[in-house]
């Protein structure tokens, strides 16, 4: 009898252990995608030294060269104003350098592969920009669900980093590796 109780206890323990999987984070696909919660941000610690200056063009280029993309034609979009309009990012919240908005983007025609680097006026601006980009990613997920389900995983696991004023978004063939690459580049 004691042995039976032990076995039952062990099985129940196993069941409880497995049921812990129910303690998951919320479904990444909300009912209304434009109101998607944003929780994939890495904030700069309050005690961090003065923020390092990044050149968005150089950083975007380094990410483009350092990550693996499915589409061989992941190319730079030169029209900076258009990039902001495309993602519905409020241009007033984006920092300027030499009269040009500090945003750089590489993207592709046949896949959702993307590198987007943006420097906002402040951290709130970077987070607002991420929300706008997330809305676009959600609309891509809607489309690819029907026509290209193999792209969904890379969209759902996109690298999204907010570091101070800086926003980096990468959608690549290997987002885990891309995260490490971006992490190294950001120091």
């Amino acid at each position: 009898m004691k042995k039976t109780v032990k076995i039952i206890a062990a099985v129940l323990a196993l069941v409880f252990a497995l049921s812990l999987a129910a303690c998951r984070k919320p479904d990444p696909k909300p009912v209304d995608p434009t109101n998607a919660p944003v929780n994939d941000t890495t904030e700069a610690p309050a005690t961090e030294a003065p923020a390092r200056e990044y050149d968005v063009d150089e950083l975007a280029k380094a990410i483009r060269e350092g990550c693996t993309f499915e589409d061989q034609y992941v190319e730079k979009i030169e029209d900076r104003d258009f990039i902001l309009r495309y993602y519905r990012i409020d241009a007033a919240t984006v920092s300027e350098k030499d009269g040009a908005k500090e945003v750089a983007s590489y993207s592709a025609g046949s896949t959702p592969d993307l590198v987007l680097v943006l420097k906002a006026n402040d951290e709130a601006g970077a987070k607002a920009a991420l929300e706008a980009v997330q809305a676009m990613i959600d609309s891509y997920i809607e489309n690819y669900t029907t026509y290209g389900p193999e792209q969904i995983n890379k969209l759902e696991t996109a690298v999204k980093i907010v570091k101070g004023q800086l926003l980096v978004v990468v959608i690549s063939a290997d987002n885990d590796a891309a995260y490490e690459t971006v992490d190294k580049l950001l120091g």
Partner: protein
């Protein structure tokens, strides 16, 4: 004494219940461990990629990251859901149970009479579906800036062409109101396709039973109606050779109603269609095909056979017909355009198709739509979309 016996019996019954419960759970767990997995692979039934193994191939740092972010438990949960023993059976059991209890009428995919599946109505209260006015303004501006005569063709939800076949408790479809609004707010010609299809006696053959698209007959009926407006002579069905291919569409894949019989996709053949050139992507690195059908997508093991029409959805597709009328037609479209565009290519020398939803503006090498209008001397534009696309952020705002 009696009480003691009863208690013993009761305890035995309780124990048996616990053992049975654990046995079922344990059996499922053993089966879960033992059965082969399709982790990270495409499920042909549901046309989605199943959750990959949550731990395999990850080093300690990556695992730690997953645990901190809450991704590990989420991935384990999804992995269990996707690889649960007899998952296909349980999904179907739930779908048919909902149908038996009348609750299928408010599910994302509704089953009507005659083994027909329908999409639920879109909810215009959602922000996601609030872009109609913005899209109207963008189309008006683009047409005016480029001197284009244009039409907006809204492929309705198939449910509207056979409302009497829907379950009684179904929700209302807003499609008619959207078409009315487009007629009021724009200078475009906007045909009422609900009326067109509903007026036909055999209205069931114009949309697939298991997919959201129109059939070739449905596309052809629309094409004929538009030819009158465009001033070209429609090519009749009798001039094509028709081939049929069995397939299951998008509704089927989402429904869980696995006992639904397969659908039939028609391919209309013609030497003229075979002789057309289809260029996909920017001119500098375009993929060029002979003929309008992707024969690979018609093979038996292919899931999405509708993708055979014009090689699926691409930012820019240009069809050239050496036997055309010397004119060019531009079509801004979603996937409904893929099956109807070859019919217009039977008349026109060039059909330029733009799909703004996906990656059109993400491709740095693609020209602006207005540059294409100038290059090909386009004077007429058709916007061909399903209801969902015209009210969503289909990125028409960037037409320039």
């Amino acid at each position: 004494m009696d009480l003691e016996k009863k208690e013993k019996k009761y305890t035995k019954a309780q124990l048996a219940l616990v053992i049975a419960f654990c046995a079922v759970i344990g059996l499922c767990f053993i089966l879960f461990l033992a059965l082969p997995k399709q982790a990270g692979k495409l499920s042909p039934l549901e046309f989605r990629v199943l959750q990959d193994h949550p731990i395999k191939g990850k080093d300690a740092a990556a695992l730690r990251e997953d645990i901190v972010k809450g991704d590990l438990s989420s991935n384990v949960d999804s992995f269990l859901e996707d690889h649960f023993p007899a998952r296909k059976f349980f999904v179907a059991a739930n779908a048919y149970y909902l149908r038996a209890t009348g609750r299928n009428a408010v599910q994302p995919v509704i089953m009507g009479r005659g083994d027909r599946l329908y999409d639920a109505p879109i909810d215009l209260r959602l922000k996601f579906y609030s872009y109609l006015e913005e899209n109207e303004g963008c189309l008006e501006k683009f047409a005016a800036d480029n001197g284009l005569e244009y039409g907006i063709v809204i492929a309705p939800n198939s449910a509207l062409t056979s409302v009497s076949d829907l379950p009684k408790l179904h929700l209302e479809y807003p499609d008619a109101g959207i078409v009315d609004k487009l007629r009021q707010d724009t200078s475009a010609f906007v045909p009422d396709l609900v009326e067109l299809y509903s007026s036909m006696e055999d209205d069931e053959r114009y949309f697939y039973r298991t997919d959201h698209h129109w059939t070739m007959d449905g596309a052809h009926l629309c094409y004929r109606a538009l030819c009158g407006i465009l001033g070209v002579t429609p090519v009749e069905k009798s001039e094509f050779t028709v081939e049929e291919y069995e397939f299951y569409g998008s509704y089927y894949r989402k429904s869980g109603l696995w006992l639904t019989s397969p659908d039939k996709l028609e391919i209309w053949r013609s030497p003229k269609l075979d002789n057309m050139t289809v260029s996909i992507g920017p001119e500098v690195r375009a993929t060029v095909h002979k003929g309008v059908y992707d024969e690979e997508k018609l093979k038996e093991n292919e899931i999405d056979k509708y993708a055979a029409y014009l090689y699926s959805n691409n930012g820019l597709t240009v069809i050239e017909n050496p036997e055309g009328n010397g004119e060019a037609l531009m079509i801004i479209k979603d996937s409904y355009g893929n099956s109807i565009a070859p019919l217009f290519a039977m008349n026109y020398s060039t059909v330029i198709m733009i799909d703004t939803r996906g990656n059109y503006y993400q491709d740095a090498a693609l020209p602006m739509p207005s540059e294409l209008v100038a290059k090909y001397g386009v004077t007429k534009l058709l916007v061909i979309m399903g209801t969902e696309s015209i009210v969503s952020n289909s990125q028409l705002i960037y037409l320039r």
